[in-house]
């Protein structure tokens, strides 16, 4: 027995030390738990296996996954979709952990001096952390709930920020600024909270759809703006880069290096923009897949015996319009792998 315990402890230590150094590692899983890779392939979320950027962890009924990375430990509840992405802030790459649906408890490590903190949150709210413990929920209607148990968290949505201390929480409705913060003494059951969100959505599907549309429009506006800037910068950089050979021929190697160092910051800015565009696109796609798509799913089933109902028709008209805009804006940034 002691030997088994020793082996388990040793295994845990090895697994933990591996996770601290490299890609996020699955340290525990049970029930229906899988990882969807960047190409859409699915594998079992086996303990001791790594998870990579652009992968999505998914739990079903009774499923649970614990993930450890250099940024902290993440504990996924059942019926949750959790995405790992790459983002950047001021040219420094950072990991991004996004709850697309369901609930994830997060215990974040303190960021070393000069380090870049990871991006956390849901598809409708971003959380800035400082060595904290928090829970992020995302509901069937795209609403988010962030509850802090230790440390401090800044929750941002639509350009507005709310700072939460321990035992404080805030709810964020899609397309809107964070609501008023409140104090909590015990955790809210995700299933009940999500059921309420689902019922609210069912009562007013068109209203809920418009809120998700506002959130999606926010992403699309950012994508369009950044895309214009990216194209300008990358064109300028390519053009200047193509002149380097001529500069070397006429003015020598020194002049070539000098010019290259002058133009390279613009090239870097373009590559950061490319990362940002990709990040915003995947966030929008997650909202589209796990919230908008499921709204369609529930409404389609609710009205199965009455597709001539006015609410159903209004929902479908609005839904089609959102999808059309979404496809137009994102189609050049989404690849087959994302589906």
């Amino acid at each position: 027995m002691r030997r088994t315990a020793a082996v388990l402890i040793l295994a845990t230590v090895i697994v933990s030390s591996l996770a601290a150094q490299s890609n996020p590692l699955i340290i525990y899983s049970e029930g229906e738990a899988l990882v969807q890779d960047a190409k859409g392939g699915r594998r079992s979320a086996a303990i001791g296996t790594f998870v990579y950027v652009d992968e999505t962890l998914i739990t079903g009924r009774g499923g649970r996954i614990q993930l450890q990375s250099r940024d902290g430990v993440f504990d996924m509840s059942e019926n949750t979709a959790f995405k790992l992405m790459q983002a950047q802030t001021k040219g420094k790459k950072q990991n991004a952990y996004v709850v697309a649906l369901g609930r994830v408890s997060m215990k974040m490590r303190k960021v070393a001096a000069g380090g870049t903190p990871p991006r956390l949150g849901s598809t409708t709210a971003a959380a800035g952390v400082k060595g904290t413990e928090l829970d992020v929920y995302e509901g069937a209607d795209g609403s988010s709930l962030i509850l802090v148990t230790e440390g401090e968290v800044e929750v941002e949505s639509q350009g507005k920020t709310v700072t939460l201390a321990a035992n404080e929480g805030v709810e964020v409705t899609p397309g809107r600024a964070p609501g008023a913060k409140y104090t909590f003494s015990e955790f809210i059951d995700y299933s009940k909270w999500n059921q309420n969100k689902l019922e609210e959505m069912m009562k007013d599907p068109v209203g809920s759809l418009k809120l998700v549309e506002a959130e999606l429009n926010g992403y699309m506006k950012k994508i369009e703006t950044m895309d214009v800037e990216y194209k300008e910068k990358i064109e300028w950089f390519k053009n200047e880069f193509s002149k380097l050979d001529e500069i070397e021929k006429t003015q020598g190697k020194e002049a070539r290096y000098k010019r290259y160092h002058e133009i390279s910051p613009i090239g870097n800015e373009a590559s950061y923009l490319a990362i940002d565009i990709r990040f915003q696109t995947i966030m929008a796609l997650s909202l589209r897949r796990f919230v908008l798509g499921r709204m369609y799913f529930f409404i389609k089933l609710k009205y199965i015996n009455n597709y001539s109902d006015k609410t159903y028709i209004a929902f479908m008209t609005e839904y089609r319009s959102i999808l059309q805009t979404f496809t137009t804006v994102t189609q050049s940034h989404v690849v087959d792998q994302d589906i």
Partner: protein, 162 residues
């Protein structure tokens, strides 16, 4: 260290065992025909939501929407049962291979075309069925599970699908 040579009868036995094991463990692609469609329809008629959930592939398609969460397959079949979708009086109108442009039968979108490319196996077939409770497309195929084809997609035709 040298192992003793394996005798001929033993080799034959090992080979037979390997072949038998391979044949036993090897899943086979279902040939989706009218009989396979009938079997799935019979499960809907019996209201066997649990088995339908088990047979439903992930991700699966509802109209033009890709459904990626494991629990949602159960919600789909339980809701159809609760809504009284029994597929009574079902007749198979058409059985179409799922290749080429067949994805357009579900939705003429880039997402659905990619879904068909990535997730629909070569034996995928689209069955158009008409019943007392409406008209549907069933996308079936893949490897047999408990003697049934996998359910990869469902389109509810009498509705506002995109």
């Amino acid at each position: 260290m040298k192992f003793p040579p394996v005798r001929r009868p033993a080799r034959a036995a090992i080979a037979a065992a390997v072949i038998a094991l391979a044949a036993f463990s090897c899943e086979s692609l279902v040939k989706v025909d009218e009989n396979e469609v009938d079997k799935v329809v019979a499960l809907v008629r019996a209201g066997d939501a649990a088995r339908l959930e088990k047979l439903t592939a992930l991700p699966f398609l509802l109209d033009g929407e890709i459904i990626a969460l494991p629990g949602d397959a159960g919600i789909l079949w339980r809701n159809l049962k609760a809504a009284g979708v029994t597929l009574a009086g079902t007749r198979l109108v058409r059985l179409t291979p799922a290749g080429g442009d067949a994805y357009k039968l579900f939705a003429d979108t880039w997402e659905v075309s990619v879904f068909f490319k990535k997730y629909v196996p070569p034996n995928g077939m689209i069955a158009e069925i008409r019943s007392d409770s409406g008209a549907y497309l069933l996308l079936l195929g893949g490897y047999a599970l408990d003697g049934y084809a996998r359910i990869i997609g469902l389109k509810i035709l009498d509705g506002g699908a995109p």
